[in-house]
Every structure is written in C-alpha cells, then in structure tokens.
C-alpha cells in the first residue's frame, strides 16, 4: 500500500505502523463522573466496518507523524490522509 503523507507525499506502507480506529483520539475525561463507563466504551467498543474506516498510522520509519488514514477495508482504497494532530484539534482537543 501507498500512504499519501500530507507532509511528505506518497510513502510505502512498510514505513508505518498501524494502531487502529481513529476513534482512539476521542479519549474521555478521566475526571468525569461516569469516567469508568466512558473509558470502557472508548477502549473496547469499536466498529468494524466493511467499507470506509478512519484509522491511525504512525510514520515510525519516517517523520514520526501520527496520521488519520481513511481506508476502505474492502478495497484498501485510501481516500484521505490527515495529520492526526489536525484531526484532534478539529475534534476540540487541546492541552
């Protein structure tokens, strides 16, 4: 596979390591009232779609960017690659 890195252009997938669902960005607040339930859902309840999937890849043999890759799990077609940091910010994550 080829991943079109937003900063570096097309790179071979061998340079990356895979983590999983990009929903891992949405870490709940550990101080919340129902934190235990939220963390359980965050960590263990995942969708397993046959089709478009947003997932986290780490450019370990490269610039060490975490990327959010939108990949079709049926065809491996990659339709979008974003810096995870930008995605996290867009989802309201900060400090």
């Amino acid at each position: 596979m080829i991943i079109n890195h937003p900063l570096l252009g097309p790179r071979d997938a061998q340079e990356f390591t895979y983590l999983g669902d990009a929903a891992l960005i949405e870490r709940p607040d550990g101080q919340a009232e129902d934190a235990a339930r939220q963390f359980y859902e965050y960590l263990y309840l995942r969708d397993n779609p046959a089709g478009k999937h947003r997932e986290l890849w780490f450019h370990e043999q490269g610039d060490r960017s975490w990327l959010v890759v939108t990949r079709d799990t049926l065809t491996h077609e990659i339709t979008k690659v974003e810096l995870a940091r930008d995605v996290a910010r867009a989802r309201g994550r900060g400090k």
């Binding site: 596979m1 235990a36 491996h76 940091r85 996290a88 400090k95």
Partner: protein
C-alpha cells in the same frame, strides 16, 4: 545419443552444443533449448511419474503452466525439486533427475497404486484415515507423509544469495508477447518510464511459437526488432526471465527475476534471483492465454500434449515428440498445429475435430465430428482410438497427439484482489472482469482478443489509454499487417464412453470420475470441489485443468459455466523459491545487530553476549579458570556489592522531553505524579496502558524546568516512544512538548557499589561535588568529565547499591569504559553483564520485564500506594476496574526455599501445602528466580494471591512439567538492604 527428433529451423543456436544428463544418461541439446525441448529432440517422452498413481507422464505444455514434467535440477546443496522442465533453460553440464519413482522412471514400484485406483478416489484421505483415532499419529500420518510430495530437497543450506529490489515506473507491462511489445513500444516512444517484464528468456510470446508473419517479417523477427528498439530507449527497462507473481494494493506488483538460473552457478557476486517490488502508476496485463486440454480415457500418456505446445516445440525449438502425429481439437487453432507440423516434415496422420462442419486447412486427413476416445502405449503413446461420426471405431498409430480444447485468457493477476472473471460464450472462455486491481488494464489474448492483429492494436491502444490517465500523450502506431482470424470454437470438455480414466488434472491425478463423485457426495461449489478432489492444487494451480473440472461440474449440476464460477486465484502466479522471499535476511543477517558503545571493549574482555531484541549485550565476563557461567556471575555480583562494578546500560531507551508543558505531559503519561519533581531530581515512573495494565517502567530526570530525560526498558524503547508520540499528537495536540529518541546518542554506564563515588570522583571534573549532601540519592545533573567532556550523571540504582549512571556522547563510550575501568583498578572494579544485573535486581526486589508481563497492574506490583489519584493519567481510570482491584489479587512477594539447598524455579506455580496442584488451587506463580551469592541460596520473585498478607507462610512451588515440588517461604521481595541504606550512603 543423437537428437533423433530434432527438426530443421527453430530459434535455437545450433552453433552451441550443450551436454546434459537426465537420470544419469547423457544427452545433447542446443543453446535456446529448454530441458523439455532438448529431451523431446532426443526422443525422450517419459519425464515423470504422477503424484498419486505414479502413472508415466511426459510434457503437457511448453510453458510455466506445466503440470507433469517436474524434475529435480542440479545436485548437492543446489538441488531443487519440482522444477518445470518446460521452463528450465538448458546449460552445459545440467544434471536433471525425474521424481516420484523408485527404482527407476521406467519401472516404478509405486505404480501399484494405479491398480488400486478404486480406493484412491476423491476424499480418500477423509474417508480412510478416520478411525481409530489412535492410529492417526502413529500409523496414518507417517505413511501419508512418506508417500506425499514429489521431489526431495538436499537438506543442505542454500549456497546462493538472493536480493530484493524496488522499482518505480509509469507503466508496467506484464508479458512481452505481441500485445506487450506493442504496448511497451507505444509507451516507450511517448517517453513514459516503462518496465516490460516477461517470464521467458526470449521476448515475443506466442510469436516465437508461430509461423505468423508480422508485416514483412516473421513474428519472431518483428519481436526481436521491437526488443532492439526498446533496449535503446533509456526510459524503458526490459526484464526477461522475470515473472510478475502478484498484484498488490495501490499499483504494487511483485516480480521474481531469475538472474542466474540459466547458468550452472551464479557468477561471482551475483544473486541467484531477485524479488522486485515494482510500484507502478499504471499496469498492463499482456499475459496471453493458456491452452486447455480435452479429457478422454488414458489422455495422460507421454506423447499426448497440448496442440499449441506441440506447435511451439516444432516451430521454436525444432523438436518433435514423434514423427507421426494426430491432432484432436474443437477449434480452428488446432488446425494451425497440423499445418505447421506438416511444413516441418512431421507426418500428421489425421486431425480429429469434434465439430461436424470443420474444414481442413491443409494437406491432411480431417476426421470431422469425431472424438479421440482412448490411447495405447505403456511408457509412451503408440496409438489413439477414434470414434467416428458414424460411431465406428478407428485406430491410428502415432507417437504424439496434440489436443486443443480452446484457449483460456490468462486472467490470474486480475483476480489477485478478489476480482472475478466473466464468462464469454462467444469464445468459450473466462475473460478478466471489470473489478480487477485499480490501475490495471488488460490487452491481447489475456483480454480474450486472440488474433495477432487484435493483440497488436489492443496493446498499443491500452498503453495510450493508461498514459492518458497520467497526462502523458501517446500515439498508437499503425500496427503492421498480420493474421486476423476470428475465434472459431465449439466448446467440448470431455469425451464420454471411453474405457479407462479420463484425466482432468494431471498434477493431482484428478479424473472426470472424481468430479462426478464429488458431485454425488454434494461437494458441488467450485471451492468445495477443489478441496475435496485436490483439483487445481499444487505447483501449477490448475492452469490447464481448472476449467475442465468446473465444466464437468456445471454439466452435472445443470448450471452454466458462468453460474458455476471459478475458484479464487491468489499470488504467486508461479511457484517461488522461499530463498528469494527471505532475500538477504538469513541466519545472522535476519535482522540488524545493534552493538553498544562498549562492545569492542567487552569483546576484548572475552564477554559472552546475549541478544536482547536487536542489541547484543554482555551477559557475563568470564575470567580465566571459570568454567561455569555461575562462577562468573557470582563473582561479578559479590564484587559489585563489596566494592564497585560497571555495567553498560546504553540499551535502555532514552527519550528527550522538552517544552513548557513537559512536566504536565509526563504527569499524564506516568501513573505516579511528576508535576512537582524538582529540577536536578530523578523519579521512578510507571507507565500504564489505557486499560490499566502496566506497560513499562523507567526513570524521568528533570535537567531543567522544561527539560526531562525519560528512560524506558530496552525491550520497550520503540513502543514507549510511539505511545508517547500518540499521546502528544493525538490526545493533547496543543501541549508545548517535543519528543526525540536519544537512545543511540548517549553511551551510559551504571557504576554501582560502595566505592562507586570514589571511583567516579577520579573521572568527574573536580568542580562537581559528588558528596552525598551535594548529590544525594535520586539527584541528576549535567556535568563534565575527563577535563571538559560534557556528560550527564544520575544517582539511580537498579542493584540496590550506592550507584550512578553516567552518560557521555556515544562516540566517547569506548573511551569512557576504558577510563572507568582504569580508574576503578585500585578498587578491584569488575565489569558485570546482564546476568549479574538480573541477580542484583532480584535480590533488591525490583520488578522488570518478567513482572511487567502484560497482565500485571501497579497493584500487582506492590506499587498501589505510589499511584496518584489526584490526576487523570493514562490507564488511571481502568486500573480501578472491578476485577483488577479484587482484595485477593496477585501481589509481588519474595520467596526463599525452606531447604536452602533447593532451587526456586521461574515459571513454577504456587499451591497451598497439601492441596492438589491444579488450576483451581493455584495461588500464583514465580516470575523471576536466581541464585543469590550474597544469601547463599536460591531466591525468587512471585505474584501471589493476597501476597502482602502472607509473609512468613510456607507454600509449595510446583512445576508439573519438570516434576519440581519445593517448599518455599513467602518473604519480602527486598532481600538485600530493605531499608535502602546502601542507596543513600
């Protein structure tokens, strides 16, 4: 022996005579021959024995689709089994052997299987070896294993080397037949970066096997002229002897180049084969078509081969399997073989065509509306039996029979990403479907375009279209005048009513009857049919047999062939040597070796090294006279605790953390608090996974308000860094914090023992006060050593002794170890390895990888009180889960044997005395164990249920595997200096 069946002409080099042996007998061939063509020229039709029934077999094909003529090539370590004689290029001195026969190819004892064929039908294994179950391991499996497989391997290491390579191109053209050559020429002339790959050593594909003219030249001359032009184009790379084996995601193709297989031994410094990974923007499949046979009784005798292959042997290699030949077909192309054979002086006794209205194309007897229904000849064909349209039987003497059931487009690569081929009734063949790999087009016979004119024009048109996608404009040249005959075929799959078995898959000995049996026993889907009968398995993957098998099944189920479908094609296209997949990653080159900065010095000391991940670390340093590792390790431990020892700890991961939010960041990464760590101080830190399980531990040293150095374990250096980057980029993207791995930037040594300070004072520049007051336990700082060399000093201890870790830039690591050892001479300093390191940390009760084993929490490790509850750190919430906080959970304890002479064994499980040793009674297990030279007995660390409350209890350590059963006393895990006085000295 003369080449009795060598004809005139052909594309062989008669000036070159090559000598070779087959089963020890010497023959001669010419340059350009394959082993198969040379054997045929020498009058050898019998080349192998079939897999199951040991039936005599000869070549069926003239290419890589060959199911029968599998031989062992070469001898000694280079011996390679199951090589297709049809693709093995002849070289002088080639030694080939037939397979699967004993004692000889002509007389094979195992041919007795053929007599018992009634027992060996489809599903034989499933039905026969069912019971009794106890027979399986002892009786059935050994018998099957002995009988299975065709060739044998040398069992010696492969003496050749294999390489891997990467290439990029605009257009990859797969196949250098008429379509591929015309495509490559069009794209090459347009200036695109083109790779043209072909499995053959002679480009041209079928043009080399035909007498078809292209323009004013012969097909092969046209191919040679195109090749010459392509070779001159700097933007085109022609790769012969290169098989594209698989189509992978995003335009990536795998290819195996056989660099040296056509030579006796690879040239000095050259690999035998190269595995190429080709990243293409567009690809074009011009893989041609493969002829399929028609099944009839005893259609597997040596001398019976595909009509197109027969033509190829005669035209390209000037070799005929026999001088009297019959052709049997259901299509016009079969007649081409008759015409070409006659032109070469081979006698065509008859052409048997299943079609009643077939028309003769030359001077031969045409028997229309007839079928070959049987054959005779023990080790080679001598006669065929023909059933005429009238029903009469006629016998015709012949030494070879060319069979053609039509041609199958070579759709293989279009299916590698689950694409499904589509049935075309008009040409009676599957063609590539619309769902092939993205960016791959198909041209020529592979697309179902069978005339030479169509292949030429479709090749260049496809190249123009592919380059158009890339914005490269190309013009299709006007193709030369050539043959443009339409496909004329009436599907015909198998002859019924003959006496004897009709073979569909000759590689796996699958007959029409086997397919009928599978149908009868309800294994009707093509995938079930394949597994039940083994149709289409093994080295040829059913290239010549699949369609025949599924056509029979379609007939039985009353479905169309389109409804029946095909099995899934998977990479590799043809068999691949395991060596080329491994490449250079063999033996010690399997992965890179990392050596610490003191490696050379340690080698000089005679150190014994151990692999920890990629690192080589000194395990112990044997002294003269020490014969057992324990002697060395005990000495190193005792000397360190008595005076001072030095250990290279460079391999521990080091992560530099900087930024105004560095402290806040670490406070979330570690389970314990870091926000208030003072500058100049180090703290032990435990990292959890988000699920609450301990991930790694280490230290974080605060060198400045906004600057920390974090250490990780050697094993987790990479994964911890990845995890921290995840937290930084994905969880808290606006924190002002930067990370970089500095593991390889600093050489780091632990200096431990009561004399550690005195030793270091000799090395550290005098302006740095190392006194206990100025540089207490858990202090850190940036210092200089040896007169101005910058260094870092950390007063941390894994051994439990007064200890420091000193870091210098890596390039000074070798000098530093020598300086430290020299400075320590007056204290009888020892170097210690990982083994002594392990003994001392067990004596001290420090958890390590054995305890942080992916199942343990801070609570299990006895660190519950260290956890900060005032903050949100990774893993904090779920570490408090029900189940992880049960009151009788496992807790780290120490163990010592009640009888000091007995050994504590890691891995042993703990049981209450007198209870049965089973899972229900399990109290925990021993994680680490060592002999403590300080205590004089064996000690262990264990995870014990409710362990903290059980100090003093005597329990049993059992290991049913080794029969061990030792009484041990539960003690504090801190065997040495539990108050920590030594650390703070």
């Amino acid at each position: 022996m003369t080449q009795v069946n060598r004809l005139s002409g052909g594309l062989i080099d008669r000036s070159q005579t090559l000598s070779f042996t087959f089963d020890g007998k010497r023959y001669r061939g010419h340059g350009g021959d394959t082993l198969a063509s040379a054997l045929l020229a020498n009058g050898v039709r019998l080349m192998g024995r079939s897999f199951k029934y040991h039936r005599p077999r000869g070549v069926l094909s003239a290419g890589s689709e060959e199911p029968n003529a599998l031989v062992e090539l070469r001898t000694g370590a280079r011996q390679e089994p199951n090589t297709r004689a049809t693709t093995a290029e002849l070289f002088d001195g080639l030694e080939a052997k037939s397979q699967n026969r004993w004692p000889s190819l002509a007389f094979d004892a195992m041919a007795i299987n053929d007599r018992f064929s009634a027992f060996f039908t489809a599903g034989f294994y499933y039905k026969t070896f069912m019971w009794p179950a106890a027979f399986w391991e002892k009786l059935y499996e050994p018998i099957i294993r002995r009988a299975a497989g065709l060739g044998s391997i040398s069992l010696e290491p492969d003496p050749d080397s294999y390489d891997k390579g990467f290439m990029h191109c605009d257009l990859l053209v797969i196949g250098a037949g008429p379509a591929g050559l015309s495509a490559a020429l069009t794209a090459g002339r347009a200036g695109a970066r083109v790779i043209l790959a072909d499995e053959d050593y002679l480009p041209g594909g079928r043009l080399n096997a035909e007498t078809i003219a292209v323009g004013t030249q012969s097909g092969s001359a046209w191919a040679a002229a195109v090749l010459a032009e392509l070779t001159d184009l700097p933007n085109v790379r022609v790769m012969l002897r290169t098989t594209v084996i698989g189509a992978f995601d995003h335009g990536i193709y795998g290819a195996v180049e056989r660099v040296s297989d056509h030579l006796a031994v690879p040239p000095e410094g050259k690999p035998r084969q190269i595995l190429w990974r080709i990243t293409s923007k567009r690809a074009l499949l011009c893989a041609g078509a493969i002829e399929r046979p028609i099944a009839f009784a005893n259609n597997d005798r040596p001398g019976i081969l595909l009509a197109g292959a027969l033509r190829a042997y005669v035209n390209r290699w000037a070799a005929a399997p026999a001088r009297d030949v019959v052709i049997f077909g259901n299509n016009d192309d079969a007649h081409r073989s008759a015409v070409d054979l006659i032109a070469k002086g081979v006698h065509v006794a008859a052409v048997v065509d299943t079609r009643a209205r077939a028309i003769a194309r030359g001077e031969y007897e045409l028997i229309a509306g007839a079928q070959v229904i049987g054959s005779a000849g023990r080790l080679g064909l001598s006669r065929v039996e023909v059933r005429l349209a009238s029903g009469e039987i006629r016998r015709i003497d012949c030494g070879a029979l060319g069979v053609s059931g039509g041609w199958n487009p070579n759709v293989h690569l279009t299916c590698h990403q689950r694409g499904r081929p589509v049935w075309r009734e008009d040409i009676a063949a599957f063609v590539p479907g619309p769902d092939g790999p993205v960016g791959l087009r198909v041209a020529g016979a592979a697309a179902g375009l069978f005339s030479t004119a169509e292949t030429l024009s479709s090749g260049s048109a496809a190249a123009v279209a592919a380059l158009g996608d890339l914005g490269i404009s190309a013009r299709a040249a006007r193709p030369p005048e050539t043959e443009d005959a339409p496909v004329a075929i009436t599907p015909f799959w198998h002859v019924s009513g003959g006496k004897g078995r009709a073979w569909l898959d000759q590689q796996n000995d699958v007959t029409v009857k086997d397919v009928k049996l599978a149908h009868q026993e309800n294994f009707r889907s093509v995938e079930h049919l394949k597994r039940y009968t083994t149709l289409g398995m093994a080295t040829d993957q059913g290239k010549t047999s699949n369609l025949g098998g599924l056509a029979v099944m379609a007939e039985l189920t009353g479905q169309t062939i389109a409804e029946t479908g095909t099995t899934i094609f998977r990479p590799p296209y043809t068999p691949v040597a395991l060596g080329v997949l491994a490449g250079r990653a063999r033996g010690k080159e399997f992965r890179p070796v990392r050596k610490s900065p003191s490696h050379r010095w340690a080698e000089e000391q005679g150190a014994v090294f151990v692999e920890t991940g990629m690192w080589l670390r000194a395990q112990w340093f044997p002294k003269p006279g020490e014969t057992h590792w324990r002697e060395s390790v005990d000495r190193e431990v005792l000397a360190t605790r008595r005076s001072v020892g030095i250990c290279d700890v460079t391999t521990l991961g080091k992560i530099d953390v900087q930024g105004s939010d560095a402290a806040a960041f670490l406070n979330r990464i570690y389970a314990n608090g870091f926000a208030k760590l003072a500058v100049g101080k180090v703290r032990y830190g435990l990292m959890l996974r988000e699920d609450g399980i301990a991930m790694d531990d280490g230290t974080a040293a605060r060198l400045a308000q906004d600057h920390f150095v974090v250490t990780t374990t050697t094993a987790n250096a990479v994964s911890v860094y990845r995890h921290m980057e995840f937290a930084r980029q994905c969880l808290w993207p606006d924190m002002d914090v930067q990370l970089i791995s500095t593991t390889e930037s600093w050489a780091q040594f632990s200096v431990a023992g009561p004399n550690a300070r005195r030793l270091l004072q000799k090395v550290v520049d005098p302006e740095h006060d190392l006194s206990n007051a100025a540089f207490p336990y858990m202090a850190c700082g940036e210092i200089t050593v040896c007169g101005g060399l910058r260094a870092r000093l950390f007063r941390i201890s894994f051994s439990g002794e007064l200890a420091y870790e000193i870091a210098v830039p890596t390039r000074y690591g070798d000098a530093m170890i020598r300086r430290l050892m020299a400075a320590g001479a007056e204290f009888d300093v020892v170097a210690y390895g990982t083994e002594a390191l392990g003994v001392m940390r067990i004596e001290k009760g420090h958890a390590a990888g054995n305890e942080l084993n992916g199942t343990t929490t801070a609570r299990n490790l006895g660190m519950a009180q260290m956890m900060s509850r005032a903050k949100d750190s990774i893993g904090a919430v779920l570490s408090e889960r029900e189940g992880l906080t049960a009151p009788d959970g496992l807790v780290l304890v120490g163990l010592r044997p009640v009888d000091p002479s007995q050994q504590v064994l890691a891995g042993a499980h703990l049981m209450i005395r007198g209870t049965v040793a089973n899972a229900a009674n399990d109290q925990g297990y021993i994680t680490s164990a060592a002999y403590s030279p300080n205590l004089g007995y064996s000690i262990g660390l264990a995870l014990l249920r409710n362990g903290a409350a059980r100090i003093g209890e005597v329990i049993e350590a059992v290991s049913p595997l080794t029969g061990l059963n030792v009484e041990v006393e539960v003690v504090s895990p801190h065997f040495i200096d539990p108050e920590g006085e030594r650390l703070r000295a």
